[in-house]
């Protein structure tokens, strides 16, 4: 009997059951910085860059919200790739949690890219969707590929199997990005030319990279939120499993 008690204590001490604490101070600060940075971006867009540039007009302003979607999306997809590789090498669930969180945020950035792109298309070409635009197309195809990753999460029931399949798919999805990009860039129907050289003014370049940084702060806050949440859920699940095991052992 005392041996069973020792087992229970041992099992219990492997990890405390996580409390339902609110967001940490660090996280709140992170979000505040993100909001301030975005406010700063709006301020720059209103005051610093020219309101209109020749041949493009004012609709180009959406570019400062569009471009970060592309860069940050790619960055988080890169994270998904790296975390998936790490998971397959180590089989540690923490990498799967990181991969899943990165995929969700990457997908969000991808959607922002698509929605702003589509809005821009409406302003520039008077159509929400332009099949012949290679940027819209590759963003859409990439979003479909990574949507598959998110769908896999609920499709596989057994957790260890889910992690394995997701990691493989995550790697595959990332490897596909250059394929998507080049095949559509090189072989799409001739697209509407975008006059990017008109946007090489110093103020525009500065604001564009500031926008990437500002959104990166926001996306990393979201990543952190997702990661903390999945970590907590898994801890709770583990704690429940421990309780079930203890229960069985005391019955036996």
């Amino acid at each position: 009997m005392s041996q069973t008690a020792a087992h229970i204590a041992d099992d219990w001490n492997k990890g405390a059951i996580p409390g339902m604490t609110g967001p940490s101070r660090g996280f709140v600060a992170h979000v505040l910085v993100a909001l301030t940075a975005l406010f700063g971006l709006n301020w720059l867009v209103v005051t610093y860059v020219p309101f209109e540039i020749k041949m493009i007009g004012s609709s180009y302003l959406i570019f400062f919200y569009h471009f970060p979607g592309a860069i940050n999306g790619a960055l988080f997809y890169l994270g998904l790739f790296a975390f998936s590789v790490a998971y397959l090498r180590t089989k540690k669930p923490v990498w799967d949690r990181r991969a899943r969180s990165a995929a969700a945020v990457g997908f969000l950035a991808n959607m922002v890219l698509l929605v702003t792109g589509s809005t821009w298309a409406k302003a520039a070409w008077n159509a929400w969707w332009v099949w012949s635009d290679p940027r819209l197309m590759s963003a859409a195809v990439a979003s479909l590929i990574f949507l598959g990753y998110l769908m896999l999460q609920s499709a596989v029931e057994e957790p260890a199997r889910r992690r394995q399949i997701s990691a493989v798919y995550g790697i595959l999805a990332f490897v596909n990005i250059p394929v998507v990009h080049f095949s559509i860039q090189w072989f799409g129907q001739t697209s509407h030319p975008m006059k990017f050289d008109a946007m090489s003014a110093e103020s525009i370049v500065h604001t564009r990279w500031y926008a990437v940084a500002a959104f990166l702060v926001l996306y990393s806050a979201l990543y952190r939120w997702r990661y903390d949440r999945t970590t907590r859920n898994e801890r709770v699940e583990e704690a429940l499993n421990r309780i079930r095991r203890i229960e069985e052992r005391t019955h036996a």
Partner: protein, 251 residues
């Protein structure tokens, strides 16, 4: 390829542990896959019939009459490839599902064969089915849609189709190994597979379009297709073992 590690213990009592070379195992797997399919041809027949039905469905989508022949000229390459895709996916979906359900997959996993060999063998046999199917559907397409193709165009089409199929099947078999065990795995296969194929379809449809006009594919187009093949083959051979090996369970 050598078989068996040299580091293992000497089994003096029994000199019987034979393990085949990986090449021998590969050939055996491909041959027996083919023999198995030829017993009943269920997969080939379902793929062929599905392709036929898809071709008929396209006749609704596109107003095909003698006065509008040019519409068909613009769309025929796409029709052909979408038909190939829908039909071939049936075979890809079955690359593991049937064997897993009948228990045969476990038997294959118990054989002294590297996982990579198993993967390449399955890719090869699936590729054979898909190419056979495409030959049949292509002739059917020419007849039903009253099309013709020049000899030069045909060569370009065949080369590009095979280059596309290799990429399609390598990635398809890999995803099939992910989805066969899932509830609703057949739908999931398509959801995961089709977006990954959009880029190469984009290229190969353009090549097919040129082929119908009697023009050869450009070097850049073929280069793209072969590069994708190499990329997918590399990814598939590295990743496959993670899908068929047991995960060890969660802690």
């Amino acid at each position: 390829m050598s078989s068996g590690p040299q580091s293992g213990p000497q089994c003096g009592a029994s000199p019987s542990a034979t393990s085949p070379t990986q090449w021998g195992a590969y050939c055996a797997l491909v041959r027996w896959d083919w023999v198995r399919e030829m017993k009943k041809k269920t997969t080939l027949i379902s793929m062929g019939v599905m392709g036929l039905i898809t071709l008929f469905l396209f006749s609704f989508a596109i107003p095909i009459s003698s006065t509008k022949a040019e519409i068909l000229e613009d769309t025929r390459a796409g029709i052909l490839w979408v038909t190939f895709l829908f039909a071939a996916t049936i075979g890809i979906d079955r690359a593991f599902r049937n064997d897993a359900e009948s228990g045969l997959l476990e038997g294959l996993l118990l054989a002294p064969v590297e996982r990579m060999t198993l993967y390449f063998a399955r890719v090869t046999s699936t590729l054979l089915f898909v190419v056979t199917l495409q030959g049949f559907l292509f002739v059917l397409f020419l007849v039903l849609f009253n099309q013709s193709i020049s000899g030069e165009g045909l060569v370009g089409l065949i080369v590009s189709a095979i280059a596309t199929d290799v990429g399609f099947v390598t990635i398809g078999v890999l995803i099939s190994a992910m989805t066969w065990s899932l509830p609703g795995g057949d739908v999931m296969l398509r959801i995961l597979l089709f977006p990954m194929l959009l880029p190469i379809l984009n290229v190969t449809v353009e090549v097919a379009d040129r082929a119908f006009d009697g023009r050869a594919p450009t070097a850049q187009q073929l280069g793209m297709l072969f590069a994708v093949d190499a990329l997918f083959l590399g990814a598939g051979s590295l990743l496959f073992e993670h899908l068929v090996n047991d995960s060890g369970g969660s802690s």
